[in-house]
């Protein structure tokens, strides 16, 4: 009886193990499922960078820059819609009446720093000058305005006499020291040794800086780092910078952001990004990646659907937060642009110029950070329902492991698997029975021969297969493939053709009509293939080998017959349906090719 119980226990255990295994497989699949949204296939480049923490590949850099552009665009759009501005180049002009006040100066700093911004700055500078004549400014405010003045391309000498000199306003608070250092650096004044040493003295015993108390404050620490950078020739300053970087790295939160007064917020995160950009540290270095989340991940999770940034998670749009985020994004973009290979070749001459102005701009940021602290209280009170939270957060789970492997590594794994399969086959044959009747024993020699020949056959066959695969198999990882197939934008003297891919359904356009460079001998199919590869849209087709005709079965996961027996992909050239092999239709310059998903054997496409 006991024996029996043991057996049944064993069976139940086996069964549970099976269920567990199935569960693991299923949950793995569930995670995969969540991760992949249709058509967003180009995204994985990001993951490569986040997981490995290595220097960014060019493809990753480009996708990151695109993301940055989108975020910057979002903030500007939000601000414009608030002000009722329709033309972006007028934004600074509209802002000018508020020049010299905190959030507005931030937008100005970001816009002026952005090389792609082409707007008139004169009105803003004039108003700034007016504000500086105000008889009772605080020293920090006055420093900020002066820095903006310097950064706007003006000299100290150009200041009118009636501008209040900030030196007379000194109160020797830590922010005041920080600003004085930046002010001196911006106007190339002699090194203020006294200020520098008193700033270094105020470092906390555990590292970092704070307005008061013994706990390092992120904003103040990051600002101090920015102020110290121009003086890093001095050994004491260099050591201090190193300590600050260590402290900052330690205080980063798991989601990549930074917290001030216990709350992760936009401003603190933005300040650290600014400090790292200014010190030309790699913003994406391992030291600032926590649980796979980079600083950039930490910042962008505060963006709301409207484009503006919230002070903290779950909050509403906040002027200072949006302005600082905009500024950090603009600086980060500059920083990344310099890492792009061809950019650095083109603009080595202008690099120095940009860098010096970059440093000058950093100075302007400090003021907002100090306001940050005072804003903490207000911001935490105006808690909005978290439904306002944007979808940009989340989705940062573990990526597909395959994406961090290069094509070569994937190929090695594949070959290993094929070899293992061969071993499995040999084992199953070797352990197998000799064919023949039950109880019949063939001679030892016959048995041996039988095994030997079979095993030899498998061995030779499998080795040949492996060698062939090793020689001729071409494996690309997704990022390598995208990089290889990146299409350059057509220049003016090149012939172009236009392509669009329209599902005429819920999924809308896979590709809105776009111009592509016409290559020699291009057919409708070769164009489609090139473009889908470059855009990470999956393409399934039959034929095409040895000049046979090509039939496109599915684009972007949408296949023929999925929406009825008469559904499938058709194409039009210049508005005319072509009912023939897409490989045989040669394109000429200016042709408009439309791929349309029909549900009625083309009758609905004809319209």
């Amino acid at each position: 009886m006991k024996q029996l119980q043991k057996y049944s226990l064993g069976a139940v255990c086996l069964w549970l193990c099976g269920l567990l295994l199935a569960g693991c497989v299923l949950f793995g699949a569930a995670n995969f499922g969540k991760r992949c949204s249709p058509l967003a296939l180009a995204a994985p480049e990001d993951e490569t960078r986040e997981e490995t923490g290595e220097a960014l590949s060019e493809a990753a850099l480009r996708s990151l820059l695109q993301e940055l552009d989108a975020v910057i665009d979002g903030i500007l759009f939000w601000k414009e819609s608030r002000l009722g501005v329709t033309n972006r180049s007028e934004l600074l002009h509209v802002l000018s009446p508020a020049a010299g006040t905190s959030p507005t100066d931030w937008y100005a700093a970001a816009l002026l720093q952005d090389p792609s911004y082409t707007g008139n700055t004169e009105a803003y500078m004039a108003q700034l000058l007016e504000v500086m004549k105000n008889p009772e400014p605080t020293d920090v405010e006055q420093y900020r305005r002066l820095l903006l003045w310097a950064w706007g391309g003006n000299m100290l000498e150009a200041l009118p006499k009636d501008v209040v000199s900030p030196e007379t306003l000194k109160d020797k608070g830590i922010l005041s020291l920080v600003y004085e250092l930046k002010y001196c650096a911006a106007f190339d004044l002699p090194v203020p040794e006294e200020t520098l040493s008193s700033l270094l003295e105020s470092e906390l015993p555990e590292g970092g800086f704070a307005l008061s108390g013994n706990v390092a404050d992120i904003d103040v620490t990051a600002m101090t780092l920015q102020a110290l950078l121009p003086y890093k020739e001095q050994e004491a300053v260099r050591d201090c910078i190193h300590r600050i970087l260590v402290v900052l790295s330690r205080l980063q939160r798991e989601d990549g952001s930074f917290a001030s007064y216990g709350t992760s917020n936009t401003e603190s995160t933005a300040q650290v990004i600014l400090a790292l950009c200014a010190s030309q540290e790699d913003v994406f270095s391992d030291a600032f990646v926590k649980e796979g989340n980079t600083l950039w991940d930490g910042l962008k999770r505060f963006q709301l659907e409207s484009g503006g940034f919230a002070h903290m998670q779950g909050g509403a749009e906040n002027e200072i937060a949006s302005a600082q985020a905009l500024y950090a994004c603009v600086m980060l973009r500059q920083n990344l642009m310099h890492q792009l290979p061809e950019h650095s070749e083109e603009s080595t001459a202008s690099t120095e110029e940009v860098l010096s102005s970059q440093e000058a701009t950093q100075n302007v940021t400090q003021e907002g950070a100090s306001q940050n602290a005072s804003q903490e209280g207000e911001a935490s009170q105006e808690k909005e329902p978290s439904s306002a939270q944007n979808g940009t957060t989340g989705g940062d789970g573990t990526g597909l492991g395959v994406h961090s492997l290069s094509g070569r590594q994937i190929k090695a794994v594949l070959l290993l698997l094929v070899a293992l399969l061969g071993v499995l086959l040999m084992l199953s044959v070797f352990l197998g029975e000799v064919p023949g009747a039950k109880g019949e024993r063939p001679g030892v020699k016959a048995r041996f021969l039988w095994h030997k020949s079979r095993l030899l056959g498998i061995l030779v066959g499998w080795s040949v297969l492996l060698v062939l695969l090793a020689l001729f198999l071409r494996v690309d990882s997704v990022s390598e493939f995208a990089l290889e197939h990146t299409l350059s934008a057509p220049s003016e003297n090149q012939d172009v053709v236009y392509l669009s891919i329209d599902t005429r359904g819920e999924q809308g356009f896979f590709l809105e009509q776009e111009a592509f460079v016409l290559q020699e001998g291009d057919t409708v199919f070769s164009l489609l293939q090139r473009v889908t590869e470059a855009n990470g849209i999956s393409l399934a087709y039959q034929g095409g080998t040895f000049g046979s005709s090509v039939y496109v079965q599915g684009i972007g996961g949408l296949f023929e017959f999925e929406e009825g027996a008469l559904s499938g992909w058709m194409f039009r050239v210049n508005g005319v349906i072509v009912q023939s092999d897409c490989e045989s239709v040669t394109l000429s310059p200016g042709d408009v090719v439309e791929w349309i998903y029909t549900r009625n054997l083309g009758e609905d496409v004809a319209e």
Partner: protein
């Protein structure tokens, strides 16, 4: 005490058909995995061969099919990598694995089916009501093993006459000879069978049928349990559980409590008869 082997063949037939049907038509990783495990256990209990060679062979088969599907099908949206410029998608890989496991378990269940449903049981299933179908069924099922057995006998005879084939040419010639002998034997055997049946009165009006098996209370209980479990499973399926779609993106229901409950129902249906305690009692 009546043994489990004496349960009415109609119950057995229904049971195995239900299992085969669900295994083949309910596409869900959980169902397929449990089914594969169940088939292996059943084969073990029936003392069918579970040698490592066969398990390895099965594994090879499953892995091969899993690998082949993504090479042929490029559906799905999650591109893992590109092979010869064609995308290998996660969805196709998972679809391949699911299909392979399903196929393997179906094959194993078929072997279980043929082992349990011997010809006398099959005749009892169709019984007096469909004598012709039962007749044809048993003849067909008997044919392949009979054919193989006869072939082996002929080969042994040929080898005794002419010796073991030394070269491929000789072997081929041997096959040709064996095939000719087989063909004539088949024709002759068919005639003999027909004659023997005619002598026994087949085809001369209606015949009475001797039922060896009784449909008693135990059969009713078994039938009720099988139908109840199957109904539960199908109702849950109808409610949207145990659904699984691979293309274009993996979707479906798993991990919900009701899914696990459905899998438990399915497991009870498969494993209950092979639990050792009951088996010892009935088999």
């Amino acid at each position: 005490m009546r043994s489990m082997a004496n349960i009415h063949p109609r119950v057995w037939f229904l049971y195995l058909c239900v299992i085969l049907g669900i295994t083949m038509f309910l596409w869900h990783p959980g169902v397929a995995a449990v089914s594969l495990l169940g088939a292996c256990l059943w084969r073990h209990r029936l003392q069918l061969s579970t040698k490592p060679a066969q398990l390895l062979g099965g594994l090879f088969f499953v892995l091969l099919l899993t690998g082949i599907n993504p090479l042929i099908s490029h559906e799905g949206v999650t591109v893992l990598f590109y092979l010869q410029g064609r995308p290998i998608t996660l969805e196709a890989l998972i679809y391949g694995a699911l299909a392979a496991v399903m196929l393997e378990s179906t094959l194993l269940w078929c072997s279980v089916f043929s082992n349990i449903m011997t010809s006398d049981r099959l005749l009892a299933v169709f019984g007096g009501r469909f004598p012709r179908i039962g007749m044809v069924f048993t003849l067909v099922l008997r044919f392949v093993p009979l054919f193989l057995r006869q072939w082996r006998r002929i080969r042994e005879g040929q080898q005794a006459l002419y010796g073991t084939a030394q070269s491929y040419r000789e072997r081929f010639a041997g096959w040709k000879r064996e095939m000719v002998v087989m063909l004539t034997w088949c024709l002759e055997h068919g005639l003999t069978t027909a004659d023997a049946m005619a002598v026994r009165g087949y085809g001369n009006g209606s015949r009475s049928f001797y039922e060896r098996y009784r449909f008693g209370r135990r059969e009713a209980v078994c039938l009720a349990v099988i139908l109840l479990l199957t109904d539960g499973l199908l109702v849950l399926w109808g409610q949207g559980y145990l659904r699984f779609e691979c293309y274009p993106q993996i979707q479906g229901s798993w991990g919900q409590p009701m899914d696990f409950f459905a899998l438990v129902l399915w497991s009870v249906l498969l494993f209950a008869p092979v639990v050792p305690k009951w088996r010892k009692k009935y088999f």
